[in-house]
Amino acid sequence: MEFVQYHPTGLPGTGILITEGSRGEGGILVNKDGYRYLQDYGLGPPDPWPRNKAMELGPRDRLSQAFWHENQKGRTIDTPHGDVVHLDLRHLGEKRIDECLPMIRDLATSYVGVDPVHAPIPVRPVVHYTMGGIDTDIDAKTRIEGLFAAGECACVSINGANRLGSNSLTELLVFGARAGLGAARLAEAEVSHADEAAIREQAAAGDRVGRLFRNTGGGESVAGLRREMNATMESGAGIYRTEESLSRSCAVMNDIRRRYADVVLEDKSNVYNTDLIQALELDAMIDIAGAVIVSALARRESRGAHQRLDHERRDDEAYLKHSLAHYVAGEDPTIDYRDVVITRSEPGERVYGGAHK
């Protein structure tokens, strides 16, 4: 769960995504001095044309990390919605932009008031994708008999520590189909599937809803706790992490988990109650945030989307492993590990830019 992908080019404030396609067409990323800073981070040389695995077409984790460093060096641009760099498409010309990137022109013009034909688009890394998820086998089966998972909520492990763009298609079409077929087969085969433990758990979950409805004291708000969670996850478990930042966020999240017990529903209706839905979602997100932090704390190395400033090297000896977080009610999850099975591709040095042919 410690691997969370940042997409390097989102709009500030809204986080609206500016597709990799705009860099694929030849868009360039520049800092406040108009300099293509990616060449300083092992991604150059800066050819004028787009080249796979180099510069702007480097991997998402490296690009997001480069932004972080530019930001530390004070070479990003300050805006009311946070620091940005510029994605410049102007040299592509109006015709090409309208033909290949009409949606980007529309999004940038509407949401940040910048027409990319005439001005560079302000962008920054935005949280994009959770590589971890519910542990499944290649038939989308989870450890709970009869429960299947597929898509972003699942972790069938086609992504590793740094997902490639478009892999969701595979996750949804291939493993979604497997999950559906598997579930249908199971339903056909088993006439009655009375799992007493599961039913008891269901009843307990039902009471979770009841408790929220009945709660009167406390007065914590869902929106307030959610904001605090976002802030601490961004600052403590974001693009770069340290023991100290993660521990700080861990303490904040434990506090938020405690305060969640005081969430009061204003909406008591049984019809389309989004106050209830948001409270339940927050409950689940608190658990997930805990799993991200605790597995990130335990992984004392840097790999893909998990970068530790206090453990900068990748350590295959100790950590060529999947972290497995196990839920413990009301507390931090426990972590154990499973070895990564290497099939066709041996783990190697990740080399980009000029050195790569």
Binding site: V222, E266, V271
Partner: protein
């Protein structure tokens, strides 16, 4: 950043407690770059947790945040507060039953979408070993515009014909049928004809064009319906001339 106070008049309705829908007004401090959805989210997060509405992407691609905004069907995530007066009236999409507050029941629309068989009906199944399905850019261009529909149902909320007769298959579903009919990989036009060319289908449309005016992705359902009318008319006369022709 500049802040401006805007009064949102939101139509509220909870079937468990309310006889009928009624407006409730909220004063919201809006940022310069906000869309109406941001203002509604402010109400939900700060002023009133009981307000229900749908949204997801905040970037005009999921199609879930449609509302009547000052009487016009719009995506609330693409409707900018800076373009609006100081009082904004927000109601659930017209022509649909209200489920709760700004949430409408879309079952009828979902049924209509399914009724036009919105999927490829190929001439013959092709095995994976037989390679890719090839389509030229020119073949794609024929229907690409109609693939951009996000099922936001703004066109149903704008359509006077659907308001008048809910049997009408309606703009988005007919445009989607047209999309598949135009696809070089598809031979399903005959199979769709029952629904598309029925009385409740294309012939019901009186070509007001309101659907195309409100479409956030310029799909032009009105144009699709007119093109389908022409194609169906040609089919009809071809059918008279060559009655044994297999459709």
């Amino acid at each position: 950043m500049n802040e401006r106070h805007v009064d949102l008049e939101i139509l509220r309705y909870d079937p468990e407690t309310d006889e009928e829908p009624a407006f409730q007004t909220y004063r919201v401090p809006c940022q310069e770059d906000w869309v109406v959805l941001d203002a509604v989210n402010y109400v939900k997060d700060v002023l009133d947790r009981t307000l229900s509405y749908r949204w997801s992407c905040h970037m005009a691609v999921c199609g879930s945040c449609g509302m009547m905004i000052n009487g016009e069907p719009m995506l609330s995530c693409k409707a900018f507060v800076r373009d609006m007066p100081d009082r904004i009236r927000i109601e659930p999409l017209a022509n649909f039953p209200i489920e709760r507050d700004l949430v409408v029941v879309t079952d009828d629309f979902m049924d209509k979408l399914a009724s036009v068989k919105p999927y490829l009906i190929p001439r013959e199944e092709k095995a994976i070993e037989d390679g890719a399905h090839v389509q030229t850019p020119a073949q794609l261009k024929k229907f690409k515009q109609y693939t951009l529909c996000i099922n936001c149902t703004l066109c149903y909320a704008a359509c006077p014909q659907y308001a008048h007769d809910q049997n009408f298959t309606g703009p988005a579903a007919l445009a989607l049928a047209h999309r598949y009919n135009l696809d070089s990989q598809d031979v399903g036009r005959g199979a769709r004809e029952d629904v598309v060319a029925s009385n409740a289908g294309i012939w019901e449309c009186s070509f007001v064009g309101a659907c195309s005016d409100v479409c956030p992705h310029e799909v032009d359902p009105a144009g699709a319906i007119q093109q389908t009318k022409i194609a169906s008319t040609v089919d009809y006369f071809m059918g008279l001339l060559t009655p044994e022709r297999d459709r």
